[in-house]
Symmetry: C2
Subunit: 371 residues, 2 copies
Amino acid sequence: MATDTSDQDIGSPKAESASGSVVISVDAMGGDRGPSVVVEGCAAALAEIPNLSILLHGDEAALRPLIARLPAVAGRLTLCPAEAVVSMNDKPSHVMRHGKNTSMWSAIAAVKDQRAHAAVSCGNTGALMAVSMLQLRRMPGVNRPAIACLWPSRGRHGFNTMLDVGADIKAEAEDLLAYAIMGATYFRNDFDEPRPRVGLLNVGTEEHKGRAEIKAAHELIASHQDTGFYEFVGFVEGVDIPSDKVDVIVTDGFTGNVALKTGEGTARLIGDLLKDALKSGTLAMLGAVLARRALQRLSRRIDPRRVNGGVFLGLNGTVVKSHGSADATGVAAAIRLAAKLAQSGYRGRMAERLVIAAQAAQDASSNGETA
Amino acid sequence: MATDTSDQDIGSPKAESASGSVVISVDAMGGDRGPSVVVEGCAAALAEIPNLSILLHGDEAALRPLIARLPAVAGRLTLCPAEAVVSMNDKPSHVMRHGKNTSMWSAIAAVKDQRAHAAVSCGNTGALMAVSMLQLRRMPGVNRPAIACLWPSRGRHGFNTMLDVGADIKAEAEDLLAYAIMGATYFRNDFDEPRPRVGLLNVGTEEHKGRAEIKAAHELIASHQDTGFYEFVGFVEGVDIPSDKVDVIVTDGFTGNVALKTGEGTARLIGDLLKDALKSGTLAMLGAVLARRALQRLSRRIDPRRVNGGVFLGLNGTVVKSHGSADATGVAAAIRLAAKLAQSGYRGRMAERLVIAAQAAQDASSNGETA
């Protein structure tokens, strides 16, 4: 387990939402659809959550007129001017060195300075993680932070959690253990599930299969079920991600990102084919009209915008990455998620368990019990 | 590029189906549903393909009565007794050492001995690849053989090809180049597409992203477009797998297997939710009745059984891995695919291109042009 990970505890759970109000820092720039949908999303979230305030970071000339159109939320939506924008093609390393004047940097700085309880951005994922790590620092016991997403499922709560879906392109066994602990805490908090079931993604469920770090992670995750407050169900396969066999799916960020986007692509293809099928003839069209409400409910159930927002776990502060192409509904969902997390205090419990696991791994390592 | 890969050319394209008839060697055992569905699948394929004969390998006592019920195909379905069965839990290394008396070994041996043009098995994928590599050997220029699958898509031909979906758990840059060449040849052959578009699966489409071997593969695959007879479209993401941006998706066997099974799981979840939605009320049920034919067409379009069969590419012989849980329709589809491949001569062209690429990579390497 890596040890160079301590750093200060920014925005501690006690500080979060102590006053009963919640402040979310939103990066208005860098999304594929421009700042106007972000401002619309802010307005929707403010209308829905009475104790919410938003700090909006970005280009003053672009944002001022958009905000002026929203007198209803005046006083709860504060402009924080930032002249530069991180583009989707900027390298994270470049943004870390030269990005201090960007809206993304400014949005994370507000969390670091405890002016906001959590941050939301639709921008470049790699840059957002780099800027967040630099400013908020990793929790003790975390070498690689992770991005967790919710996945529509047959499970008890209608959603499973998967992580990492793209913070890093690799993960060692110790990272996968930290993901199990972080994912279980996140899921427990979100769905009030006392003992989430954790599965480790692999190419088969037999114990002899898979890459070396995954076999090592199997041992580690199995041995930390009690300290991590989860039940380990062993290896799971891609087909199990939306199943009711598991609540939290642990994998490296390369595999997780491919799986997430493959699921998205498959859902979109089937949706398109279904629409085509229901337009293919008079009877089909009539059928579609009759079944319209049921089909709309289904469409909402698997709408990726409803669960928009990858949560960065393992940092001393809460950051939600909204989909780059999110519309106002998606942005509002990401802000809602950030506000919920900011008010939950999940990071305090997560931090405790990570430190216990890191300590146990270190003890085992120095006793020569593990590699 | 590895060089320890030559070995004899078994079942050369010229030998394949020279007589106009095609002989497929089928492993009757080891599928999840037992030998009876395999025999049913054989009967369906024989009824459909007039010039097909089948060698059926497996337990004589179990198979004899099943075959006796099929007088219509007598003379074209030959029993090849094999006493042992490879189970789903057997380790490939164990089967390689002790599996000579199994139906799987016997099915591959028939291809090696040129008694059959291609083999089909529903059994343990790892063991099937190990037994196939041991008996048929790799084509020159191939270090890691791959399993290719077809994926329903928006593409010109309704299907894309992805490889590797599970032959190995990793792939180096040179392996990914070989997959590009093999996949392009396979796709061209199957869909009569002169210049298939090849994409390399990654977590983003920007060139600076991804793991080292994937960046190296990007260079290699780009530089072999002419010798490989494909167009390289660069990096693609999970969401592009069923898209019309690409025909052949190249990735390592761990990622490919997870993606394939994630797609399967997502499709199954949406199918179930759709069924539930259409039973959720009287109007929805009536709508479903009216749209029934359109919905059935959609269901067939994305039915995994229709495209059942992962093809092992890079061996001196054709082997099709049918899904372990395939029913008779799925087994028949796998046999049909094997018969089509056996009659196509694709392996001859693939072998030429692989040797050219391997030679070029070796020349470049000895000139110090590549790592």
